[in-house]
Amino acid sequence: MIGYILRRLLLMVPVAFLVTVGVFALARLSPVDPVLVFAGEERDPAALAAIRQDLGLDQPPPVQYVAWLSHAMQGDLGRSFQNKQRVSEAILERLPATFELGLAALLISVTLALVIGIVSAVKRNSVVDLVSTSVTLMGVSFPSFFLGIVLILLFAYVIPGRIFPPGGYVPITQDVGENLRRLVLPAVTLATASLALNLRQVRSSLLDVFGQEYVRTARAKGLRESAVIIRHALKNALIPVVTLIGIQIGAIIEGAVITETIFSWPGVGRLAVQAIPSHDYPVVQGVVLVSALSFMASTLLVDVLYAWLDPRISYEAATA
């Protein structure tokens, strides 16, 4: 197992290297001179040259890349052009809000997917199944920003009493109740798309497993249907679901970009969106790098978890 993990880590190195090259190159694609953005109102050529030298932008791109990478590996992702705050600090400050939103959404999505998915698979072709499969396809096709707006309209403006506010964030350390009240709408919005994927996966995995011989054997032994489902079928059917959930955890920042923007949720996704109009590329670059690396890390974790959960998976074959 350790050998397998090491091999997977080694395979990740060239990919991570290419990711850093990509992130570095992306920031350099911009036609806007970063020195002018950083300088703000300042247009004195001498001052601009000093800033260029200060930022290391007078060096050839490969030298700039090595300097950027060595700083990034020490956790220094540069400073924001807007407020001169350290990018790593800005990201760390906002990560808890993003994780809170992402995990709440995942909790809603996984719980509903499990309950509806099991009922849907057990009662195949029933009304519940028909409704759940239709909802699945609709959930995948419904743009999250439109859903967010519909929810805001309904719960903040149409239904009297403003059950859930249209946006904003109160730290959980400050007021738990208010934090949760403000969390509901963004979490439901974010959960919808992944609910569709999870539900589809739970249902189809269970249907696959129901056709296996060991499930037939369990039924033939006279076990109760609930025991067959929970103790035999679900245990194996959930392995692909675990993979999907792992990948979704890695993609929390991606999912949060739109939702945080609609609900003014002060997370990492909104940080990137706010940095775009002002060409604050160290911030955009930092968020892209962090989200890509967390996505890669979650993929690795999922692979390891998968191999651990399902002993039939050969470590040798998996690395080939």
Partner: protein, 296 residues
Amino acid sequence: MAGATVPLTLARARETRFAGTRYFLRRNPRMIVGGAIVFGWLLAALFAPFVAPYDPLKVDVLSALEPPGSVHWLGTDDLGRDVLSRVIWGARVSLSVGLISVSIGLLCGTSIGLAAGYIGGKFDLLIMRAIDALLAFPALILAIAITSALGPQIQNAMIAIGIVAIPAYARLTRGQVLAVRAREYIVAARTVGCPPLRIVLRHIFPNVMNALIVQVTLSTAFAILAEAALSFLGLGPQPPSPSWGQDINYSQRYLANLKWWMSAGPGLAIFTAVFAFNFLGDALRDALDPRLRRSA
């Protein structure tokens, strides 16, 4: 006598062909529903100047914020612009971004996959690591990063979504190439001295076609959704051009005044278009590629 037999044979052949198509469609009603909606949107986009009841850019402050009614079926926005006309013209933007970006992904991804799969060795290893690196970026984040770097323009949104689509096509094609590369007819073609390009295009590529058709349909749905998301974030076409995502973003400021129709039109347009492409893609997958068929 012979003269009467020929048309009869042709008529029978045609009848059999139509009967086959009818049978195929009857067995796949999702294809009819999905295909009809997609066709409807394509027609709306193509004939927008004739179908749209008003000029989507025409400001008419006297009719501002009118709710849906007989004059303006989907209402008007704060500048009195007809929402339905903007939705119809917005279809041009969304569908063209969807189709062009998918073409970019298809062309680049398929070429990369064919080359990597057929050539193999170190070339395959290097190319696939680059594809893995591209896959390591969450799709929307990568599209946002590329568009924000290149500038908020419709062409840049197309390029960004196209680049994001490349890995799926490359991996799909490479997988199929690897599966057929060692087959006897490929070995035979190689033995008789068939040039590599001919082998790839004439003998390998047709094997990938079905899977690619399915992927094109499903990734068009993703591309429309991604374009709408980019436009919503202000990274797509710029105002006053009609665009579904951007119009929803614009409508947000009137939510508190309960002017729901400003976002309902473009929102439902995105939903129906994406739903139709997903529906069509799922139906095509079931019909064309039984190996990919879900157990559902």
